[in-house]
Every structure is written in structure tokens, then in C-alpha cells.
């Protein structure tokens, strides 16, 4: 069976900006695949190439074994696309927008009517269907856009930042819906710069940074790869530096502790990397008690995708995000994408 999406050595530049330098990944049929990376990493450009909206400069892109460049029309039939910013015609009602969409995908009228009815119901949009989309909230719009993307029963649904800018409640609704979609056999490709989103949804993911894939795998594979559990320790709510230093010295001598960092930004709490295993917390607590230090809070967790990202790029996703905001010329990018 051909891969749902095959991207190999994709390259794409806009003017002198090399948005995608070398991206390769494979999405298997029926899985939710996540593209994780900060804004400006090349996620949207990759998606645009995949959706036939942009022509790649080099590399191979296939959807179910069909070349996107050579047979774009066949690819378009097979995929649904939900853009980051929902482009809806404010003057149309939700139903009219779906009817237009159905005609663009050449659904016979009877089929279109039935599909629209079903999807409106399934997405809880029935009450809004005959109101103008200009009156919709962000969450309702997103749901309408999901319905539009699914009208023609695509094999592959592509969502660019599906919950960016949405409230928590809508985010949960969208996540829930995407899980249902997966359960029904549709392949889902999402991009996100939210770690939790990818962690919660994706069966597998690729981390993208500056136009290249820096790692690919299941979330737990990637986490296991960097190894160690994370322990966060607060001796007091606000710990004096001397106490933190003292604790650091004693904890570093423990055999299962690999690294101890004092996080001054968090009231001198201590971040530890420890070997996975039991009893780490009680041993830590015990060692502190021996030198007369209390324990305000103590928690152990597996490494997060942010730790994966940090290990791969040397900066946290948040920092990369902030750095990207400073260097990006969004106006210029938009202009180039319109070409």
C-alpha cells in the first residue's frame, strides 16, 4: 500500500527566502501525523506544496502514490484542506458555503444535500447553517471549515495550525473530532507550533526547524531517544540561592542524577535529569531531609516534546518562536505566497 503522503527532499524558495531547504517524511494511511516547529520553520510552505497551491523547486511529493506535481487534479480530489486562517465569504450562510464547496468538488446535488446535512449535524452546526458566516465566532468558523474540508470524503485531511487562536473549549472539540476522524479511517496531517497539540494527537511527528526535518518518530520514541526523566524540585516556594546551591551539591552526588540546573527564573527551583526508574523522588526527598532542607514541591515527568526540540536545536520552541517573530517579514511572505 502506498504511503498516504510521501515527501522526499522537498525544496521551495520564495524570492531569496529558502522556506523549505530539505524536508522528507512519510505519512502512513490512517495515522495522524504532526509537523511540529516554530512559526517560519517551513511547515506552511510544505503544506502549500502538498495541496498543489505552490510548485516545489525540487524533490518528490506524492499522495497515495500519485505525484502532486504531475497529476495535481487527482491529488486535489483525494485531499481536504483546512487552512490556518479560515477563508469564508462573510456574506454567504454556512450552508451556501458548503453548497459552493460541494459544487467545486462536483458532488451530485442529492449527495451534496445529504453530506451537508450530515456534517452540519455531526459538527453541531445545524443551528448556524442558515446564518451568515460573518456572524460566526472563531470556533464555529473552524468547524464550518472542517465540514467544508470533509464534504467530499477525502482520504487525507490536511490542517494547518488547526487550533491557533482558538479558545481552549474549541480546541478540545477539534481534537476530539480529529480523533474520531482518524477512527473512521481518514489520514490526518496537521501542523502545529503547540507542543501539547502534537503530543495529544499525533501518532507520529516530524520536527521541522529552518526548513529541514531534524527528527521524526512517535512522540515516545523521540522522548526516549533523549533519555532520562525530568524532575522539578522546589525546596520552598521561593528558595534562597544558598539553599538551592547546597541542595544542588548534594543531589549531584546521587548515582541516578545526571544533571541539576538551578532555574533562577522560577524562584530558584531545581530542574533535574534523572535515570528512569522508581523511587527517585523519595530518595531525593530523603537526601534533602538529611541536610535539613524541606521539600515544597517535587514532581517527576517524562521528557516533553519541548525537551526533544531543545535537545535537537539548542533552544526551546518558545525561544525559537520569539526569535522567528523578530526576523520574519509577514507582509512579504504573504505577498510571495499570493504569487
Amino acid at each position: 500500500m502506498a504511503a498516504a503522503v510521501l515527501i522526499k527532499n522537498l525544496q521551495k524558495s520564495y524570492g531569496d527566502v529558502q522556506a523549505v531547504k530539505d524536508i522528507s517524511f512519510t505519512v502512513q494511511p490512517g495515522e495522524i501525523f504532526g509537523l511540529l516547529g516554530p512559526n517560519g520553520a517551513g511547515k506552511t510552505t510544505t503544506i502549500r506544496c502538498l495541496c498543489t497551491l505552490a510548485k516545489p523547486d525540487g524533490g518528490k511529493i506524492e499522495v497515495s502514490g500519485i505525484s502532486v506535481v504531475d497529476r495535481p487534479k487527482e491529488v486535489r480530489r483525494r485531499l481536504g484542506y483546512v487552512a490556518q486562517e479560515v477563508a469564508i465569504d462573510k456574506v454567504l450562510t454556512g450552508r451556501e458555503l458548503l453548497q459552493l464547496q460541494a459544487a467545486l468538488y462536483h458532488l451530485p446535488k442529492a449527495v451534496a444535500k445529504e453530506r451537508i446535512k450530515q456534517l452540519l449535524q455531526l459538527l453541531g452546526l445545524t443551528d448556524y447553517a442558515d446564518k451568515k458566516t460573518g456572524t460566526y465566532s472563531g470556533g464555529i468558523r473552524k468547524r464550518l471549515d472542517l465540514a467544508a474540508g470533509l464534504l467530499h470524503q477525502p482520504e487525507l485531511l490536511i490542517l494547518d495550525e488547526p487550533t491557533a487562536g482558538l479558545d481552549i473549549e474549541t480546541r478540545i472539540v477539534v481534537w476530539d473530532f480529529l480523533r474520531k476522524l482518524k477512527a473512521s479511517g481518514t489520514t490526518v496531517l496537521i501542523t502545529s507550533h503547540y507542543l501539547e497539540e502534537i503530543d495529544a494527537l499525533a501518532d507520529r511527528l516530524a520536527i521541522i526547524n529552518r526548513g529541514v526535518v531534524i527528527d521524526e518518530g512517535t512522540p515516545s520514541q523521540l522522548k526516549d531517544k533523549i533519555g532520562g526523566d525530568r524532575v522539578t524540585l522546589r525546596i520552598r516556594e521561593f528558595t534562597p540561592v544558598e539553599e538551592a546551591e547546597k541542595a544542588k551539591d548534594i543531589l549531584q552526588s546521587l548515582p541516578f542524577v545526571e544533571e541539576v540546573i538551578i532555574n533562577t527564573a522560577q524562584g530558584n527551583s531545581l530542574n533535574l535529569i534523572v535515570k528512569p526508574g522508581n523511587n527517585s523522588l523519595s530518595k531525593i526527598e530523603q537526601s534533602l531531609a538529611e541536610i535539613g532542607l524541606p521539600t515544597f514541591s517535587l514532581a517527576q515527568s517524562r521528557p516533553s516534546l519541548d525537551d526533544v526540540y531543545l535537545a535537537a536545536t539548542g533552544q526551546t520552541l518558545m525561544d525559537a518562536e520569539l526569535a522567528a517573530v523578530e526576523t520574519r517579514d509577514l507582509k512579504k511572505e504573504k505577498k510571495q505566497q499570493m504569487k
Binding site: R76, L104, H106
Partner: protein, 298 residues
């Protein structure tokens, strides 16, 4: 949010269609697909018009004001100035008909440009359209329909203001001429909507072409009123080739394809060859924008 739908029902609604080509019968009838998508896109434009009719209302009021104001401006001009016993209203009506149609057509690209800017065009471009020319076709159908409505209003208003009313045969000729000029200019505007970077630039182009082309045509004054150099420009202006035959229809109850409709610096032009010039203009424009559209639609 899906209380009324069981999970197994939801599953079947969301399940992918394993053979889209089969179920939706894509193959076989590209024409039917093309017509379906063109009609759907046209319908959208008319829904917009119905819910936001201000463009159409303004588009009907404006030519009416042209007729009244310009008519009043020259109302005391010597009677013989525009030809024997010819009122300026009668001279002006054809100019207003063509200019109104022209302005409307020149704006045809704006909605497409906004669709590009707001990302709505992407929705169309990721869809498996039979041909992306349906986007262009829908805009053209819409603009031509609007122009016909405006033309009808101007003809009626003109008749009311003393411009007279051509025969039924003449009216059909007017419809044909308006169609030809609108088709060409709409194509130019749509081409620009895909070629220019944004709506600011498109509006700028519309701004600098609109009135100059009006004044460099025979809409407001006959050729022999103009400076020699302007006569040359006006004789190259497609608007003139739309205005002159309509004016002829307004002034003469009997006309044939060999009737002379204007005297350019390089000779007279007959009704028939005038229509050929308009056809050539359309052909030239459609040919020129092809590569532009194809680059976008590749």
C-alpha cells in the same frame, strides 16, 4: 456536540471515500463539471450582489447623473454643434452606455483580487476544478449581466430625457456591442487581478485608466472637436469603437453594416468593420492574458 448521531453513524459520515472517481463520476464529462462549478461560482457572486446591492444601486445612479449633469452642462451649446438638430442628450446617451459598461468591467478584477488576498481563492484552487477558467468565466458572466442591467436603465432614462429609442434591431446591436466591450475589458481586469501584487495596485491602475480613457474617446465630444493628437488616440481607443456604432444607431433609424460610423484620421470606418475591430480587441486581450492565467493556474 453530536448527541443526535451515534458513533457508528459518525464513523460512516467521516469515512473516506475509497474511490472518489467512481462515486462522483468525475471522468467522462469535463464539460458538465465545468458548467457545475461555473454556475456555483456565479451564484456566489449574485448572492453577494443581492445581500450587498450598493454596488448595483450606485452603478445605476451614476450613469443617470452623468446623463443629467452632462446634459445640463452643454444644454446651451449651439444646436448645430453636434450635428443637425441633434440634442446633446441624444449625443451623450451612447457615450454614457459604453462608459458605464466599461467602468463596471474595469472593476471586474477587484472581487477576485480580494479573494486572493483573503485566501478564498485558495479554497477554489485546492478543489479539483474541471478548469480554473471557471473562476474567470463566473466573473465574466456576472459583470456582463450587471452591464446589461445598467445599459437597460440608461437606455430607458435616456429615452425619458429626450435621447430617443433605437429600434428593436438597433437595441440588439447595442447588446452585442456592449457584450464585446465588456468581455474585452473584463478580461483585462481579471488578468491584472492575477498579475498585480494587491488591491492597492489594482485600484491605482483602474484609477489612472478610467477617466483618461473616457476623455480620450468620443463619449463626450465628437472626433472633430479634438486636437489632432487626441483624435489619433481616440481613434485607437476601443471605447470609441463601441460608442460610435451605438451613436449611429441612436441617430439613424436605417443602418446597415456598411454605414460609415466614424471618420478617423486615416479614413472612415463602417459599422461592420467597427464590430470587427471590437472582435479583434477581444481576441487580442484574451490571447494576451492566457499566459498570465496559465502561470497562476498551472
Amino acid at each position: 456536540m453530536s448527541q443526535r448521531i451515534t458513533s457508528s453513524k459518525a464513523k460512516s459520515i467521516l469515512a473516506p471515500n475509497s474511490s472518489p472517481a467512481k462515486q462522483f463520476n468525475y471522468t467522462g464529462s469535463l464539460w458538465r463539471d465545468f458548467i457545475q462549478e461555473t454556475l456555483a461560482l456565479t451564484k456566489r457572486l449574485f448572492i453577494q450582489l443581492q445581500r450587498r446591492p450598493s454596488t448595483l444601486i450606485a452603478g445605476v445612479i451614476q450613469p443617470f447623473m452623468w446623463l443629467v449633469l452632462f446634459g445640463a452642462l452643454f444644454s446651451k451649446a449651439p444646436q448645430s454643434l453636434f450635428g443637425d438638430d441633434l440634442s446633446y442628450a441624444r449625443f451623450l446617451a451612447p457615450g454614457v452606455i459604453v462608459f458605464t459598461a466599461f467602468s463596471g468591467a474595469l472593476n471586474a478584477g477587484l472581487p477576485v483580487m480580494f479573494d486572493r488576498e483573503f485566501g478564498f481563492l485558495n479554497r477554489l484552487l485546492v478543489a479539483p476544478l474541471a478548469s480554473r477558467y471557471s473562476i474567470v468565466a463566473a466573473s465574466t458572466i456576472y459583470i456582463i449581466t450587471l452591464s446589461f442591467i445598467q445599459t437597460a436603465v440608461i437606455i430607458a432614462a435616456g429615452a425619458f430625457l429626450g435621447a430617443g429609442l433605437p429600434s428593436l434591431e438597433g437595441l440588439s446591436a447595442i447588446v452585442l456591442i456592449v457584450f464585446l466591450i465588456v468581455l474585452g475589458v473584463t478580461a483585462v481586469s481579471l488578468g491584472l487581478a492575477f498579475a498585480l501584487p494587491g488591491h492597492i495596485e489594482l485600484i491605482a491602475v483602474i484609477f489612472v485608466t478610467n477617466l483618461p480613457l473616457l476623455f480620450a474617446s468620443t463619449a463626450l465630444a465628437p472626433l472633430n472637436f479634438m486636437a489632432g493628437w487626441l483624435q489619433v488616440i481616440a481613434s485607437l481607443n476601443p471605447l470609441t469603437y463601441a460608442i460610435q456604432p451605438i451613436r449611429y444607431l441612436y441617430l439613424h433609424s436605417d443602418w446597415t453594416l456598411s454605414s460609415m460610423v466614424m471618420n478617423t484620421p486615416w479614413g472612415s470606418v463602417s459599422f461592420g468593420s467597427d464590430i470587427l475591430v471590437l472582435l479583434a480587441f477581444d481576441a487580442l486581450v484574451l490571447f494576451t492574458i492566457q499566459p498570465l492565467l496559465r502561470r497562476r493556474f498551472a
